[in-house]
């Protein structure tokens, strides 16, 4: 196998409780708690960032794959949600058992396109196979993202 290793580096600095700044090259990303439960929290949590990263990966990979296949599309959007096995373990509740791991991720991947459904599904299959985050997460999490083509 050809050596195609490339490493990515992110530096993350704590700015306070539930406040971190991540630096990726010259880009900056601010994040809050590991898994926030307050709807009014000022920053997205690490769990939300993971979902966002998965969504961005799928959108980008689908767009690139569709472009190479000359499949036209007007808009792409992903809606993702996840649950933890036992969030109370993460919160340090004494006596709770189980794991704070992400137990399941599900969602919908919307494709607005005039192309045929079979063609869109073929691109979606390639997308999932080529997505770094999808292929990583599907090995450890119950991952179910439904394709929803719309004209």
């Amino acid at each position: 196998m050809q050596d195609v290793t490339h490493a990515w580096t992110v530096r993350v600095r704590a700015d306070g409780p539930d406040d971190a700044t991540a630096h990726a090259r010259r880009h900056v990303l601010r994040l809050g708690a590991a898994a926030g439960f307050d709807a009014e929290a000022p920053l997205p949590s690490a769990v939300e960032a993971l979902l966002a990263a998965l969504g961005a990966d799928l959108l980008s990979t689908f767009a690139a794959t569709a472009r190479r296949a000359r499949l036209p599309h007007d808009a792409l959007e992903a809606v993702l949600r996840c649950t933890l096995d036992n969030p109370l373990v993460h919160l340090g509740v004494i006596g709770e058992t189980g794991s704070p791991r992400i137990a399941a991720i599900d969602g919908t991947f919307y494709v607005s396109s005039d192309a045929g459904t079979d063609d869109i599904e073929r691109i979606w299959t390639l997308t999932r196979a080529r997505s770094p985050l999808y292929t990583t997460l599907e090995r450890s999490v119950a991952l179910a993202v439904r394709l929803c083509p719309t004209p």
């Binding site: 439960f37 307050d38 004494i94 006596g95």
Partner: protein, 290 residues
């Protein structure tokens, strides 16, 4: 000069939202110069043990945890504060309006659906009402228990809700629920007042209470209570926190409202490990996962 040691308050958490509420309360106390912190436990048995072992200063006890603390301290623990909504609660026994259960005596030979084995409001006190009226649970009346999150003393309404579902599905002839849940489920349409009715109501009882050991530092207690009682529902900055915790005013703790539960606990041998009724079979994957 070192900062004063935070007063450590323990509570049971059944949902992450509980932690959010306590984060807000903690910030309120710190803003008022009374540092406090909190520790969460998965069940009230652990909470009471932590209080009695000195790991905590104050425990936010369920009524059953209060009765347990009284039992385990020989009556020396103290109730220092409670919500206005903790006082004078009642539970209802609800039946189908079109059924033939017209009086409490009609429940004889039938089935009552209740909440978790350790729920004061949905199991112990309502069954005590039956016993007061000559209906011995498991002898004169079959008891169908819904053990959701046992150890949390019915804080999670799942068992109480399952008991209502059992009534509506025809698996039981009556069910028990807290007045607040009856009102809430009537308001949101879960419970149809046209097809159900209240058959009987328990005597009033008190619910949660902040509990301390007899040796809790008097100055710390005074400062903590002064800050707690400063919360004012008329103050918009306090209202969200009080709404989340379900109260309009904090009141001094009182011990006069635990009679019905104390009596039921003794009658049914709860702390001797006896349990009233048979647990219901899970009816769904959701139930089975609990």
């Amino acid at each position: 000069m070192t900062a004063p040691r935070p007063i450590l308050v323990g509570a049971v958490a059944y949902d992450p939202k509980v932690v959010t509420i306590w984060e807000i309360i903690k910030a309120y106390f710190e803003d008022h110069g009374t540092p406090m912190d909190f520790v969460f436990y998965s069940n009230y048995g652990l909470l009471v043990t932590a209080l009695l072992d000195g790991d905590l200063d104050i425990a936010w006890n369920s009524p059953l945890a209060w009765v347990d603390a009284v039992r385990r301290t020989g009556g020396t623990c103290r109730a220092i504060a409670m919500r206005d909504t903790d006082r004078d609660r009642v539970s209802h026994i609800v039946v189908r309006a079109d059924g033939d259960v017209r009086t409490l005596a009609d429940v004889r030979g039938r089935t009552i659906a209740v909440g978790a084995a350790d729920s004061p409001q949905a199991t112990l006190i309502p069954l005590g009402l039956l016993a007061d009226n000559g209906l011995v649970p498991d002898e004169d009346v079959a008891v169908l228990r819904h053990d959701v999150l046992v150890g949390k003393h019915g804080d999670h309404v799942g068992g109480e809700r399952d008991a209502l579902d059992a009534l509506l599905a025809g698996d039981a002839d009556a069910c028990a629920m807290l007045d607040l849940n009856h009102a809430g489920w009537t308001a949101d349409g879960t419970l149809d007042p046209a097809t159900t009715r209240i058959l009987a109501t328990t005597p009033p009882f008190d619910h949660c209470v902040f509990t301390v050991r007899a040796d809790f530092n008097a100055a710390a207690e005074r400062d903590w209570l002064a800050t707690l009682f400063t919360m004012d529902y008329a103050n918009p900055d306090h209202r969200e926190m009080m709404d989340l915790e379900g109260l309009k005013a904090w009141l001094p703790g009182r011990t006069s409202g635990f009679g019905p539960l104390t009596e039921a606990v003794g009658r049914f041998g709860f702390f001797e490990g006896r349990r009233v009724g048979a647990p219901a079979e899970p009816t769904s994957l959701r139930d089975a996962a609990r």
